[in-house]
Amino acid sequence: MEELDLVVVGAGVSGLTAAYYAAKAGLGVLVLERGDVAGSKNLSGGRLYLGPLRGLMDELLEGLCLERKVMLEKLSVMGKQGSASLSVRQDFFGQPQYESHTVLRASLDSHLSERVAQAGGFVVPQKRVDSLLREGARVVGIRSDGEEIRAKVVILAEGVLGLLSRELGVKAPPSPKEAATALKEVIQLPSEIIQSRFGVGEGQGVAHLFVGSLTSGVAGGGFLYTNRESLSLGLVLRLEHLMESQLQPHELLESFKAREEIARLLEGGQLVEYGAHMIPEARRLAPQSLVGDGYLVVGDAAGFSLNMGLTVRGMDMAMASGFFASRAVIQASQSNDFSASSLASYLQMLRGSFVMKDLERFAPLERVLSRKRIYNEYPEIFCQMLGGLFQVGPGPKEGYLRSLRKALGRGPGMPVLLRDLWDMRRL
């Protein structure tokens, strides 16, 4: 076989984006995927923000296989005996520069894989990459099923565990502090019921996040996204805290589903799939470790994901990183120089883009969001506080301020609360 220009390890959104643009530029591209088809090993909560990708890859975004356009944002803070919710709708949510969609990875990724093929690239499924071919420090190809495949450059889009990139000195797999375990159920429900139950129109969807007692003090929360004819429901649990606790993830998911607020939304639905996946969280790899002689690391493998409390992102960053990696590879092939210093243009593009800027800006928030009291004490106080304001019981009603002060008094105390707020000052 003639030497390929590019081998991509992994047919997820980052790898397929990279492969598409490299193939379109005329490079010889091969994507290797260990699943039955592209997408069959991939799992995500299920929401893709298109806004950040506009202007970068408009062409690829045309005709993506999406579920529903998110027009309603919901956040519920859950206490042990109640909850308080916020519901936000804005007309601009639907505009191209802000739009986001719920997605299911099997269909999203297999569509992207077809696009790669149309652009002239090859996607070969059922091929696990066992190791990297190296000559000294340089990566010169991969080994799969005893077969050696050589390429001028390799893009590692292998996902969060980084089993191959760790051979190259990337700090992988992530530590329990840098990773969350996510569990997800796909629950089928007719589209008319989804629309009437969630109060959205045809093609429109809801993204609902949950924080508080549902994770019993473990950093993380719950999510519920509406797809065309199903719901994606799940939990995200910071592994470090899960290990310290006596909790079992599946039991937490079952108690979350049993909550009155949730059970009602799922009524009549039929479970069709249960899955689990890890998410890189608060994970920052040294940028220079993401590029070397003959290789680049993209997507989850590069730690590109960001929990901003109100929004949880990963796929947009993954696709952008794949896009920048393809640009770096195309540039490098013009000078036929695939050394680390030539491929380092990838890092410059990342730094100049929303990927690195958002990761840096919101790093302090991720640190605050790692504190356990955000997930047990604060939600409890918040729910009691609001509950107290709304209740009218026997006898004279307490003044609003007094109710608030009483609720706050049950918490970790004003100095701690103020420090948590102070730590978020630059956001």
Partner: protein
């Protein structure tokens, strides 16, 4: 719904060879916490008292890697199942 019933809904193409290997000597001598028994979302790990051994049922593995990350003593050696094997998500 029980966890086993949920796993029965998933599509698996099981490899007869396990992709998860456990070094029992490390489990016995270095690991007090046995996180694997608790953190696995598919609850595939169990402890066999008679043999003083941790066992794993690789057939229902969702390939998340939680056990690999949680097992700090390094008793679990974990690779992905070979190409075309293991869980195949139909929705993802």
């Amino acid at each position: 719904m029980k966890l086993e019933e949920k796993l029965a809904l998933d599509a698996f193409k099981v490899d007869e060879k396990s992709h998860i290997l456990i070094d029992h000597r490390i489990c016995r001598s270095l690991c007090k916490t046995k996180y694997c028994l608790r953190v696995c979302p598919a609850e595939l790990y169990r402890y066999e008292q008679q043999q003083d051994e941790i066992r794993v049922e690789h057939a229902g593995c969702l390939e998340c890697g939680t056990c690999l990350v949680a097992c700090r003593p390094g008793a679990i050696s974990w690779s992905y199942p070979k190409g075309g094997r293991g869980v195949q998500y139909r929705f993802g």
